[in-house]
Structure formats: structure tokens, C-alpha cells
Amino acid sequence: MVARCSKEWEEAGGIAAQALALQARAAPLAHADAEAWEDALSALRRAGAGGSDDGGARRDHALERKLERAAVVPLEIAALGADAAALAAVAGERCDAAYRADAAAAAALAAGGARAAAHLVEVNLGVREGDERLAQARASEQAAADAADRLLTSIR
């Protein structure tokens, strides 16, 4: 919206197109996240109910895979949040001044999304400290926060 409303900005169309692309990636990820979480939760319950029979190892393996999936999706969402915040920051720096606050709001929201998603990766039972996925999630969270802060600071 910010880019589309900035008539004097030559690259506004290109920024708007990227925003639409990010939006298109976000919707299926949100759906996948809910699904992956439900799956992991069901697997956890099954594992909790099971004994130490022969099926135990299979259940552990299935649980591990479900937890992995439940971490991958928020990891992608965190990266998407970082991209959305970065894009909003670019828009905020170059757009028509009347829309700068809207861009800052978008960046802050995206940073919030990245933070929430990074938290989901962090609390995933299959992710341990030192895990590369955790490092990536935190990097996305930090990048999104930096982009949003930069923009907010510049307009205050």
C-alpha cells in the first residue's frame, strides 16, 4: 500500500511486487505451521501413551520427524518476517512522507512475526542450543528487529 501510494517513487512498483510475493508465501506457511504443530502434538501424545514395546523406536523416529517439521515451518516464517521488515524499511526510507508511519508499522509487525516464529523454533523440543536452525531463527529475528528499529528511529 505504501509503495503503491507513492506516485513519485520510480521503484515503487517493484517494491509492491515484492510485497505481494512475500504475502503469497506467507499464507501457505501459516497454514502449514498450524498443521505441523497439530501433527507434532499428536505424535507427542502417542509417544507419551506408548510403552517400551517394539513400536517405541518407530514412534520416537516418527516424533522426531514431526518435531523437525514443526521447527522448519516457523523457521521459514521467521525468515519471511525478516524479509518483510527489510522491505518495509526500504519502502519507509523512499516512500511519500505521508506513508512513512505506515511503513514503520508494517516493519514493526513483521519484526513481531519474526520474533514469535523464532520463539517457536526455540521452544521446539527437537531443537537444542547450538542447533543451526536456532541460530538461523535468531538471525532472522535480529535482522527484522534491526530493520524495524532503523525505520522507527529515523521517523521519530
Binding site: E10, E11, G13, G14, I15, A17, Q18, A21, R25, A79, L80, A82, D83, A86, L87, V90, A139, S140, A143
Partner: protein, 186 residues
């Protein structure tokens, strides 16, 4: 990248007529996704039917290329041929197993989308390699800015702006008002 990748449609057709095998490969390569998109997206053919139509289209292109009056019009000719063969395929299928009415409908929107997508794809090939690369990574491979930045060794904060500049060039190309200018990084 083959030297034929940059050849115009008309040039490619001319060389195919002369029996240039490399030109045939390039022609099939250039139009294969187009034909397949019409079959699958436009007519919703099943994969196996789409493959049959695909084979049939290029067999007929090969055998009837001499009948094409305007070499530059090879794309609409192939499109028309593909549509006709898709309809034949659906009609054959309906004789074996009657299909719902909507399976026979050509949806204008889908075809317009296909045409537009291929026009964009063609226009992208006229951009510099750097632009082609960055647009492909972002829009086709869904890569994040951070991944693009790391893999192309570009500052992360510049990716969105670079993509926007490339898109502006693409729009100019599509609108036919691209003017020769000094070569930039993209």
C-alpha cells in the same frame, strides 16, 4: 547458454527448416513449457494426457513447419495447434469416460495468464544476467533476501532495491519503451 537462446523465433524456424538439429532442440526447449502450460493449466489435462499432446504437438510442428506462412508467428501457431490437440484429447477421453461439462471449457483467463507469463519470461531473458539471476532467485525459487545476499555476495540491505530496479527494467521492456542506456550492475 546456447547461441540459439538469443535467436528470434523466426530465426529459429528458418534454421529448423534448413535441418539444423541444434535449432530443433532449441525450438522444443523454448516452447515446451508453453505447450505444457496450455495442456495442464489451460485444459486441466492429466499428466499422461498432457504428455501425449506434447509429443503430438512437436511431431506435427516437425512435419508441418513448411506450412507456416510467417516464421515469426510460430508461437501463436503452436498455441493453436496445442489447443486443438487438447480438445481432441478431451473428446477422446469423454468417449471412453464421460467427463463433466466444465472439463471442456476453455477458460480465457487461464490462457491470458499463460500468455502473460510467457511474455514476462521472454522479456526477462532480455535483461542482464545479474537481473535474471536475482529475479529468478526471489520470484521463482522463493529465496530470502539473506540467502540471495549470501549466495551472490551482495550487501543484504540492497537486495530489495536491486530487485525493484530490475523489475522497473522489466516493465520498460514489456511496455516496449526500453531505451539503450549505459550498462549498470544489473
Amino acid at each position: 547458454m546456447s547461441s540459439l537462446d538469443a535467436a528470434t523465433d523466426a530465426e529459429l524456424v528458418r534454421r529448423c527448416r534448413e535441418g539444423d538439429a541444434e535449432a530443433w532442440n532449441a525450438l522444443v526447449e523454448r516452447f515446451s513449457r508453453y505447450v505444457y502450460a496450455i495442456c495442464v493449466k489451460g485444459f486441466r489435462l492429466r499428466d499422461e494426457d498432457a504428455e501425449d499432446v506434447f509429443q503430438d504437438v512437436f511431431t506435427r510442428v516437425y512435419t508441418h513447419l513448411d506450412k507456416l506462412r510467417d516464421d515469426a508467428a510460430v508461437r501463436p501457431w503452436i498455441a493453436q495447434l496445442t489447443r486443438r490437440l487438447c480438445l481432441d484429447s478431451i473428446a477422446r477421453g469423454s468417449r471412453e469416460q464421460p467427463a463433466p461439462e466444465q472439463d471442456f471449457e476453455e477458460t480465457g483467463d487461464d490462457f491470458a495468464e499463460i500468455e502473460e507469463a510467457f511474455a514476462v519470461r521472454e522479456a526477462v531473458t532480455t535483461l542482464g544476467e545479474a537481473c535474471q539471476e536475482i529475479l529468478d532467485r526471489f520470484f521463482a525459487q522463493d529465496q530470502s533476501y539473506r540467502t540471495i545476499s549470501a549466495e551472490l555476495d551482495l550487501p543484504a540491505g540492497t537486495i530489495a532495491s536491486r530487485i525493484a530496479r530490475c523489475l522497473r527494467k522489466l516493465r520498460e521492456e514489456l511496455e516496449g519503451r526500453s531505451e539503450p542506456s549505459g550498462e549498470s550492475r544489473e
